[in-house]
Amino acid sequence: MKIIKALKAFKGGVPVPHAKRTEDFEVVKMPVPKKLIFPMVQHLGAPCTPLVKKGDYVKVGQKIGDAESPVAAPVHSSVSGTVTDVRPILYAGGVDVMSVEIASDGLQVVHELVQPPVYNDKKGFLKAIRESGLVGLGGAGFPTAIKLSPPADKPVDILIINCAECEPFITSDYREMIDNPQGVIDGIRIILGVTGIKSAFIGIESNKPKAIEKFSAILADDSLIKVVRLPSRYPQGGEKQLIYAVTGRKVPAGKLPSEIGVLVQNVNTVSFIAEYIKTGMPLIKKKVTVDGSAVREPKNLEVLIGTPLRDVFEFCGGFSEEPGKIIMGGPMMGVAQFSLDNTVVKHTNALLAFNKKDAAITDESVCIKCGKCVEACPMNLSPLFINGCVEKNVIDDTVKYGVNDCMECGCCSFVCPASRYLVQSIRYAKEELKKRAHKAKK
């Protein structure tokens, strides 16, 4: 099969160091930890309510949290054992989240309700997907059932599988492409069959030639699914940048991809769907890349959701030197963790530990208006002006500079020679605006 070249190159972006030294490391299954914690918010949307209480016995795959709101994903236990506590815990997001603590008995008894789902139509399929607790595994954690059901008046004709994995260090998506390409393709076929979407494209960055080869070999005569080779430039995996590269279509500012007839799913999300339809086992484990300058043995792991970060790093030989920063996710968009007691959640795709030197925060100096952030911004914004508004505390003005179009990819801060905290100030502005809108409603 002919591999398709990307139609368009997005504007801006930065050449990040790939640092994918774990790409040839096969996925190792981590043993079942003794104590696990399941926060009730592991998705974008309404928080779940715990369905279990202290002292309850739970089994693998048992639903332990759910919400009434459709925009949510239920939480399942990844072990069998006893609920030891249900209490709010502070997470890196800065808010307390109700969490269920479970002591595992090591037996991994599977719950009776874990059965391959039976569905007759799209509605039944979406219901099953919701029950699986699936969220977008690329990092944002949007409930997949919602994403799979765009408004009826927005017909979707293209499915794109996001295999860009443009963040440095992370190779968990790459391992899925290499180890389970058939699962990915099965998942694509399931989605195509249920949604009636006409064609699918697998978008892979050019720095993963083996993955491109694998897929094109399997899909040699396939007319529905095609492989697209993408330029290796950060943030190629950004949803809007990916869509533009593959289809040449631009998602209108402030709108979702369904607006222009596109659905994007992460590669691990898709292969999970295939496995779930086969086994009925909800989302209870994750592929996680463990790397960084302070990690003794970098690894690709299969980790049970709820596993404390401490256990993960211990399994990787502990720290080679004192870590200054622990990041969940990639170094460009990942969230710095303040405690090793926090746990692996649904959208965790990497855990990076950096030594003191790599973690050091540079002091800001003055903006010299060099315009490098404007050049680098893949959303075509002017981060320096937004930053200026925040400095002057005229937050309302940031709206006209397009602050809400920012996806916080970090390109601007990456290139800034003055080490301005651009992304941070943009995030602050967004949060302030949200608060003000909330107040205005009241």
């Binding site: 622990i326 303040f338 060099c370």
Partner: protein, 322 residues
């Protein structure tokens, strides 16, 4: 290692940077200016050395004193004052009295830069502002040109020679080769287009500057002088205009000054074209033979306005922001 008592930094993403800093950029600018510095020393000998040392010292010292007086952190380490000093020297005639050059440095740093808040806050190019200030204060010293090498006989600059209605039209204009390599009278660092272009290639390769402003600037001057610079339309010797005067210096090193130029692509093009138009108009119709300095200063003033009206639309954004 024991994991119990680890103190973690919970900073905002991104957790990676390109490692680029302001001092690296300024150092690159100084490196890019070295060929032109060498050319200046070669053509104007001791005069060049003395003027360059004087302006750099004057600028760096002024910055240091200003920092101290204002009780701010000392910022001479970012090399920006040194760059201003070097650029100022490039804009001065070789035989200028050294005390005048020193006053220029003080004006550039104290008045145009530090009084407005220091690096990143000045609204016009400090070196050019200082040149304009010196020009207004001591016009004779600022327009007394020496021939190249150690010859101290006064002469006229190439642009003054071809200036229509000028008083010095008796001289023959130098040939284009001498103009290109810089063996002509003029300000210290502006004469050698060759040396300036070598440095410009370095700046572009190091991604310190982009080509929008210089190309738009030079292109506009070329077109304007070609159309209007001759005895009849479309007969102007535009090559002469490109290599004479301070065009190369201005286009690559002064108009591209970060703080006093627009940030967006469109804005940069407008800046370049504006500078080009003003330069050509001043050269062809104005009272001065050279217009690069004033054209850049005038366009500097328009930069906030240009930035406001050339704000890029966000990706996929139909609606204009601002």
């Amino acid at each position: 290692m024991e994991q119990k008592d680890i103190k973690l930094i919970a900073g905002s993403s991104p957790h990676l940077t390109s490692g680029q800093t302001i001092s690296i950029i300024m150092r690159d600018v100084i490196i890019a200016l070295l060929p032109a510095t060498a050319a200046a020393v070669y053509f104007f000998r001791l005069n060049a050395v003395l003027v360059i040392i004087t302006t750099i010292l004057s600028c760096v010292l002024s910055e240091y004193i200003a920092n101290k007086v204002m009780k701010k952190p000392v910022t001479i380490g970012d090399y920006s004052a040194a760059v201003t000093g070097l650029l100022l020297a490039f804009n001065l005639p070789p035989a200028i009295p050294l005390w005048m050059a020193a006053v220029g440095g003080v004006f550039a740093i104290i008045i145009t830069k530090q009084l407005f808040g220091g690096l990143g806050m000045n609204f016009i190019n400090p070196a050019l502002a200082a040149r304009a200030f010196l020009m207004a204060s001591w016009p004779v010293a600022m327009t007394t040109w020496t021939k190249t090498a150690v010859d101290t006989v006064t002469s006229a600059t190439p642009l003054a020679i071809i200036k229509k209605g000028g008083e010095v039209a008796v001289d023959h204009p130098p040939d284009i080769i001498n103009l290109f390599i810089g063996n002509v009278p003029g300000s210290l660092g502006e004469t050698s287009a060759l040396a300036l272009l070598i440095g410009a290639v370095y700046l572009v390769a190091r991604r310190v500057i982009t080509l929008e402003i210089p190309l738009a600037f030079i292109g506009t001057v070329a077109v304007m002088t070609w159309i209007l610079g001759g005895d009849s339309l479309f007969t102007g010797n535009f090559l002469y205009h490109l290599f004479a005067g301070g065009l190369m210096l201005g286009a690559f090193y002064m108009a591209t000054d970060y703080t006093t130029s627009p940030v967006s692509f469109t804005g940069k093009i407008i800046m370049g074209i504006g500078c080009g138009l003003l330069t050509a108009v001043i050269r062809l119709y104005g009272g001065y033979p050279e217009g690069v300095c004033y054209s850049i200063l005038l366009m500097n003033l328009a930069v906030p306005l240009i930035d406001k009206y050339t704000l890029p639309k966000s990706f996929g954004g139909g609606k204009a922001h601002a």
